[in-house]
């Protein structure tokens, strides 16, 4: 009977297409919008993904990675002195203006790495060597910088120069880094040189990057740091999620995307629910005939839910597939905020499952309520 239930569904091509179309649209809207939202949220954590260390130490008031409350340099030594800390190095991070050779400006995220160890160095060099950062006035610019400079008519390459705070920066390498939420390119240099570029301030240390000793957990080091007045610490994972949570709490982004996702669900329920209800309604006479011929409620339920889930599966596959194609297309074209972790298809699938179950249940109630004697009317 299940095979025949599918034949009944596929036989009404117009309704089938409408049902699949509705669920495809719903899946596409949800998967695409949630992926763009995830992409945007991921952008907010670009610094964390560019500089991969187990523990980040910051001023006690810091809530997320893009928020810097400068500390005294002495904090590096205080952290180093904690038991369980293998090493601790300073990091400068700030948004400064770079003046290009034609006089125009470009905001950059200046990242000053520990001069001795270069901890937090770019993961992938496109040209040049990281070690050349120790040369005078040396900086490494990421691929976003290359694009931004190019848009201003400057072909950035090794040997190119620009100014930060009236001091020369000479490009010794090009690297690949994660796109950030604000879109400014990352410019890597050493910590000491970053302080030279940065405007004069009493406190200029942004973060202390920490490696726990072997056998000591990152959480244990975090607890030790938090015992120091005026400091806080986060594991990389914790900082990642706190940063995302901060943006979700303090910006209108989740509301904007959430509204679209909810609309997608409502549209899905409305289209799929209504069309499936109509489909069941039009076939009610046949279902009543099957009831009269001895079809048990469980058989009819199996038929109805199979039809609902078959439609859902097709709509889900097409919708998520289209969202993935969209992502693939735009990712190829540039650096859009698009990130589809496995949770997105699972969430979308769960919502589609819910819509189908709801539609099927509404249809089934109608069938159960229909007296088999209706076939004689």
């Amino acid at each position: 009977m299940l095979r025949l239930a599918l034949k009944l569904l596929y036989g009404d091509r117009a309704k089938y297409a409408m049902l699949v179309g509705g669920l495809t649209f719903c899946s596409l809207l949800m998967a695409q919008q949630i992926s763009v939202f995830c992409g945007l949220m991921r952008w907010t954590t670009a610094t964390l993904r560019n500089i991969q260390v187990p523990v980040w130490v910051a001023d006690a008031k810091v809530e997320q990675v893009n928020e810097v409350v400068a500390m005294r340099d002495i904090e590096v030594d205080r952290v180093k002195s904690l038991p369980g800390v293998e090493w601790a190095v300073p990091l400068y991070w700030g948004i400064l203006n770079a003046r290009l050779s034609d006089g125009s400006f470009q905001a950059v995220q200046l990242t000053g790495l520990d001069t001795a160890t270069l901890v937090g160095r770019p993961g992938k060099m496109l040209a040049g060597r990281v070690e050349d950062l120790r040369l005078p006035n040396a900086v490494i610019v990421d691929q976003i910088g290359v694009k931004k400079f190019k848009a201003k008519g400057i072909a950035l390459q090794i040997g190119s120069t620009f100014e930060i705070n009236d001091k020369e920066a000479r490009v010794v390498g090009l690297c690949e880094s994660a796109q950030s939420f604000l879109g400014q390119p990352y410019v890597f240099t050493t910590y000491d040189r970053a302080l030279e570029y940065a405007p004069p301030q009493r406190k200029r240390l942004s973060f202390v990057l920490v490696q726990p000793k072997p056998g000591v957990s990152a959480e244990a080091v975090v607890q030790s740091v938090r015992a120091i007045p005026g400091l806080t610490a986060f594991t990389a994972d914790d900082f990642f999620y706190r940063t995302i949570a901060w943006y979700m709490k303090n910006t209108g982004i989740p509301f904007s995307f959430g509204t679209v996702v909810v609309l997608g669900i409502v549209v899905g329920i409305a289209i799929a629910g209504q069309t499936f209800y109509l489909f069941v309604h039009e076939n009610l006479r046949f279902m009543a005939a099957l009831k009269a011929m001895g079809a048990r409620t469980s058989t009819l339920a199996g038929m109805v839910f199979l039809q609902a889930f078959a439609v859902g599966l097709a709509g889900y596959g097409l919708g998520v597939g289209a969202a993935a194609m969209f992502g693939f297309g735009v990712l190829k074209a540039g650096e859009p905020p698009f990130y589809m972790p496995w949770q997105v298809p699972v969430f979308t699938g769960a919502i589609i499952l819910f819509i189908c179950a709801l539609s099927g249940a509404i249809g089934l109630v109608k069938i159960i309520r229909a007296e088999p004697a209706v076939v004689f009317k």
């Binding site: 095979r3 036989g11 046949f286 011929m293 001895g294 088999p372 009317k377």
Partner: protein, 244 residues
């Protein structure tokens, strides 16, 4: 009336004082007002009467597709009123075959799929069900149309598929609701001939509700209903001779 025949009581169905009212209060309508009827094995019984006299309601009650308010219905020795809904459904699936006025063939299933439904509902495998359905389609004369969809068949051919569907699971009661109403005279005549030929057996009974006086001559007995009651039961040819 209760003589044994082929291992069964000669009365396949015994309805006594059956009542059924639709609605409540001032708007209630008494459709059946104490109907008595015996339906015998091996006979084709017709229920006739004017529109609104309760024929279809009574037919629905007899085959267990509608609950009744009072009286009793014994269907092959089982008291319908004493059975749970699921039991009635299972009993109906095993013992009753249906032929409807509008055929009720599912439009996206072909002839053999439509005809095999009762066996599939009973849990038979697809192969078993379709083999049996094919045999019945051959018997009703449209075996070569096994892959045709209802829209590709004439009214008479569709009703033959419906007959095959009604008989495929070897039921003991065949219920026909206005089986010729959607057919021309020749097709209607042919359908009744088929029913008489392959449906009427000593271990089975056929009930036909009809308005169509052209087919009264096929009945072994005719129950004449009026105003929610069986007014009279006529033997073979009596009603035909008297009224037609």
């Amino acid at each position: 009336m209760n003589e044994p025949a082929n291992g069964h009581s000669s009365s396949a169905i015994e309805a006594r004082g059956v009542t059924k009212t639709f609605g409540t209060g001032d708007s209630s309508v008494a459709a059946l007002k104490g109907v008595d009827l015996d339906v015998r094995f091996g006979e084709l019984t017709m229920i006739v009467g004017p529109s609104g006299c309760g024929k279809t309601t009574f037919l629905s009650v007899l085959c267990g597709t509608m609950k009744f308010d009072g009286g009793s219905v014994q269907l092959f020795g089982r008291d319908l009123a004493g059975m749970r809904d699921a039991e009635v459904t299972a009993f109906r699936g095993k013992n009753v075959g249906f032929i409807f006025q509008q055929f009720n063939l599912i439009p996206t299933w072909n002839a053999v799929e439509n005809a095999s439904v009762p066996l599939l509902l009973a849990g038979a495998s697809r192969q078993t069900a379709e083999t049996a359905a094919q045999r019945l389609l051959d018997e009703v004369g449209i075996g070569q149309k096994r892959r045709a969809y209802p829209s590709e068949l004439s009214g008479g051919q569709q009703q033959r598929v419906a007959i095959a569907r009604a008989l495929v699971h070897e039921p003991r009661l065949i219920i026909c609701d206005e089986p010729t109403a959607s057919l021309d005279a020749a097709s209607g005549h042919h359908v009744l001939e088929l029913l008489q030929k392959i449906a009427c057996r000593p271990d089975r009974c056929v009930i036909v509700v009809t308005h169509d006086s052209r087919i009264f001559s096929f009945a072994d007995r005719i129950a004449e209903m009026e105003d929610g009651q069986v007014k009279a039961v006529h033997g073979r040819g009596e009603y035909h001779a008297q009224y037609v």
